[in-house]
Symmetry: C2
Subunit: 317 residues, 2 copies
């Protein structure tokens, strides 16, 4: 099967329900229509075999994870995902793998109403680069740089489960139900586009938690030229992380990556409106600390003592 | 050096002169403003070490080639390139390589007035995925599917030099001046965005020649549901291909990839206007054949005999 047959067989049949795709796969480029009053958001993420996923993972899950990671970047900006390109590098043409991968991709894209509009298929060590495109009302994108001293820091959900799953990958002696829950958190994270409206309207800064809460919050602080103090008691730790890690659970919540919840800041004047909008949307977010003018990250321990926090997060190099 | 320091050191200092970048590198996504009356074009291409380039190539040249290949996809649509994301997978942090790569990238992007607006840096086997974004006046993008029987087929320049360079890569016994010319064609192809206006106004279909003239023209034919007859005598073969290949030169011109000239079709009613616009822009294109209703590719040999052409082009699988 040559690459054109491969694309025809596994990717050309993707359907979508978007009338803003003027044309997609089949030309040298896709042609897309941005809505009046909207701006374009673009982000790309690469998943490399052996680094971001293991060779023995189901290709269906790999595709879902790749999409979720990219959609999460849109969620972090308060943007709606619209279109995707796929650069797929494969060691060989493996139809069973490709079938599972394309099924996972199609199901994920349908779930988020994203159109696959183009890509490139090459031979080489397995890796997947997705470039996602979204739209946001003009000047409503939420950046990392807008946080100010006094803003409250929120996270959108419980943390640490994905890191716990990674720690347990090779263990077969675990409770199967627990492991399944944790693996679902790692393989099928839920990008928080349900918070788009709340973020656009009320947040001063946002980021998604891919490298770990402390690392990602430190990006907000650096971009906004501020610092932060976290209240350890307020950080929502996934119950299975507490179950397996005990007193170390908070470390998983602070440093564990791959959760793809959002960390964002809300100015005091927006607090009331934000809480009302959250309640109306039946969503729960967790206040975990406060932005301060003093640079650096600090944590207030349960005892009340404030100590500085060493930022740890995943780095490739 | 972690990946954030790597990005800061080698990629964050890129400058650009585009006021349509609302914000670029430094957030979870870039934010871009499409001009009123324009549509967005998106394309991506991956270059894999050992497949699309050799490990011993100067990283400066690799970056230039990666940009040119992507810009060429915009040229094939008649679109102006605007913004780029870079997904760079590296086996290690190699500052001298990164310095050359980022210099080549910066110089190429400045040349085309393209802004680097985001990307992802990961560890793994060396590969480079660029996703390029361009703009075209609404409904003016030139597709593969618009050719009709009777349209004249053109190419935008001499063919075969890049394939000749690949054939000669390992030869050190060649005339150095000749080899330098051929390698420049392979490493620094010229994407034909200078033809944008002519294509938008007069062409019925277009494609860039990445896989070889016969393979790429066959894509136009398949998408347009037509066939084509090429006049062998009209196909412009690079003089150095003639010099080294003699009677086989035409095969290099027909089947050799990597030239990144354009192949396009012009309806009879547009022919006069097209020629006048070309002359006014001081550009030369070569009429090489005619679109026919009968499917398949044929060639008229110098003798006048018409024979069918077996399509050969590069395939990864």
């Amino acid at each position: 099967m040559n690459e054109f047959a491969l694309i025809d067989t596994f990717f050309k049949s993707f359907t979508h329900d978007r009338d803003d795709v003027v044309f997609g796969i089949g030309d040298d480029a896709a042609c897309l229509q941005i809505a009046t009053g909207k701006q374009l958001l673009v982000s790309c993420d690469t998943l490399v075999a052996g680094v971001h996923f293991l060779d023995d993972w189901d290709a269906y899950d790999i595709a879902c994870k790749a999409v979720a990671v990219n959609v999460s970047d849109m969620a972090a900006m308060g943007a709606s995902p619209c279109w995707l390109t796929l650069a797929l590098t494969l060691p060989d043409c493996n139809p069973p793998w490709l079938k599972r991968f394309s099924q996972g991709l199609a199901d994920s894209l349908n779930h988020f109403n994203i159109a696959l509009v183009g890509g490139d298929t090459t031979r080489g060590p397995l890796s997947i680069t997705l470039t996602i495109h979204g739209q946001v009302p003009s000047n409503k994108a939420v950046r990392r740089s807008g946080a100010n001293a006094g803003d409250k820091i929120y996270v959108s959900g419980e943390l640490g489960a994905a890191a716990q799953a990674v720690a347990f990958l090779a263990r077969i002696d675990l409770d199967h139900a627990d492991k399944a829950i944790l693996m679902a958190k790692l393989l099928h994270p839920t990008p928080r586009i349900d918070l788009n409206h709340c973020l656009q309207t009320f947040a001063s800064a946002a980021i998604d938690i891919s490298d770990g809460l402390s690392a990602d919050l430190s990006h907000i602080c650096a971009a906004s030229n501020v610092g932060a103090c976290l209240m350890l008691a307020g950080i929502p730790v996934h119950p299975l992380v507490k179950k397996y890690q005990g007193v170390n659970a908070i470390d998983f919540a602070l440093s564990g990556g791959d959760d793809y919840e959002l960390c964002f800041t809300v100015p005091p004047a927006q607090e009331e409106g934000f809480k009302a909008a959250l309640a109306q949307a039946r969503l729960t977010c967790y206040p975990i600390g406060i932005i301060e003018s003093q640079p650096g990250l600090r944590v207030q321990e349960i005892s009340g003592t404030v100590v500085s926090l060493n930022v740890r997060g995943y780095s490739h190099f």
